[in-house]
Symmetry: C2
Subunit: 338 residues, 2 copies
Amino acid sequence: MITIKEIAKQLDVSTTTVSNVIHGKTKEVSPETIQKVQKFLEEVEYVPNINARNLAQNESKIIGLVLKSRQERYMELLQDPFVNEMISGIEKTIRQAGYFMMLYMSDDIAEIISHVSTWNVDGLILFCMLNDDGQRITEKYHKPIVFMDTYPGDTLKDYINVGLEDEKGAYEAVRYLIECGHRKIAFLSDNVEGVDKARFTGYRRALKEAGIEYSDRNFLILRTEVGEIDRSLTRIAEKAKSFSAVFCCSDLFAVLLMDALEDQGVKIPDEISIMGFDDNLYGRLHRPALTTIHQDAMQRGSLAAEILIGLLKGKKPEQPRVSMKVHLVVRDTVKKVI
Amino acid sequence: MITIKEIAKQLDVSTTTVSNVIHGKTKEVSPETIQKVQKFLEEVEYVPNINARNLAQNESKIIGLVLKSRQERYMELLQDPFVNEMISGIEKTIRQAGYFMMLYMSDDIAEIISHVSTWNVDGLILFCMLNDDGQRITEKYHKPIVFMDTYPGDTLKDYINVGLEDEKGAYEAVRYLIECGHRKIAFLSDNVEGVDKARFTGYRRALKEAGIEYSDRNFLILRTEVGEIDRSLTRIAEKAKSFSAVFCCSDLFAVLLMDALEDQGVKIPDEISIMGFDDNLYGRLHRPALTTIHQDAMQRGSLAAEILIGLLKGKKPEQPRVSMKVHLVVRDTVKKVI
DNA sequence: TTGTACGCGTTATCAA
DNA sequence: TTGATAACGCGTACAA
């Protein structure tokens, strides 16, 4: 790797001049020199040393993307195409803005903070933080942060979040089920916090509006730990049979449940109707194709990255909380029972 | 972020001493000093500045993972769970060895090389290189490289590859189809190079062994560009009807094809049998569940990373070419016609 | 218009 | 046992 110093020596100019040409500060350099230097730079295929540059500028041009996952779910997080779409959107936007993305997958906040400091990361996108995670990071890390899909506790007041119409989406999904004549509707998720909590609220609202009683028996919790999931699915499929429809908090869960049901000989949607949330490949590839709530994960990733990059340039976002639109996509897993 | 210099000042010792304590070079430091420094380090939660360290050591502790993709396929590469599993395996191994993974997704070799030089990446894992890609990178980049799923041209002699029993896997898949009584067997992939070429060879060998004629009509090529894929699938499903079985080069393709066929009213496996390759979630979630060739993508990723890290420590791998084992997994998409 | 000199945080060499 | 000091490559204020 050739350095600026070496180039300067070979061309018999100063390093300043070379550096100026590289950065287009050509007001103060004679045209011939510019020519000469530029030509040489191309010839030797000069590439700056990022470490030196970062050290000098005290910035890293790195944006960290933190996916906090409970240890056991590790695989599933990456296997859900929704997450992949989001990552794609983020990565693309970051790259096009001249930044670089670093991906942190960890369940250890302290480890994440340490990593982020070491690399002197310029900004952070935090995905799916629960409880006091966000709080803990903001205490230690004092550069721009954009949250995604995070509903932090009351302690964190001033934060930016790019989220979704979770409550509204769930409400519309369940209202559609009710419109189709369903009244015994279960709710399936793998936890009761954050995003799923909001979706649960929407589910409850739709029920209430239709005057449908809710009981705790309606809440099906999937255990997603490796080694646990199959048993859990079988059990849930069993329980599901006493409902006429199940609203699932993700397409992946919806498809898993449908398989479990079908394997027990239950016909979908004839015997049970299924509603998903996300609208990704799993649901689209399944037959019957999944009726679900659509979100544009890639665009949402892009938006989060754009906001963060704006922040890095000192631009305050227009609104600190974004709830991106969702809409119902009707396919073949919900039966009209009236 | 506190620096060594600052620590040294506050404790009234030299930076050298602090650095020595940090690196456990305690032979030359008095016990009290060690105590004092270590305690202080913990108190202030010292984190080294990677840029400075890298600059001083001329290394980066970064391993680059390069996924070369044709521009149009961008989405699919990340959407294939097989790729995700592999990435997980690589990332985990790299992290545990104290390194860091940088992910490059690009179709522009020059851009990749430039990036890799800038960041002074210590080693490279190259996935799915075609033609002279590998050649071009090895010419410019002179640190350890491990290839994955690469069958480079004749020009590249000395390289390390962690691959798969592609030929054998395809051979066994097709032989199984033949054993089940199929004789009109199509081959589906999206290109004719690298891995798919090897699988095609295996397919041909199985046909030949059974004395089955091959014609170019057997070779179905899926156009995977965005906007093209649906039309291509419909056309291929149409063609597929004149065969009794289709061997697909990936589970994803297999599921896409099955959907296209089912949407045209074709029953699987009653009217057409389908065989996949990879064994990932898409195939497992589909009903009927996909009969396919299993590979352990995560373990393969791990292995590649391990070999590379060994290389960085000067350890030559036992064998430069690894072909990991595959095996047939019989599920429900292949019908016995005898 | 061009060049000198210093700082960024760390490590390594060598002298005290 | 400890401490100055140079070096890594780059950017920049300031001097020439």
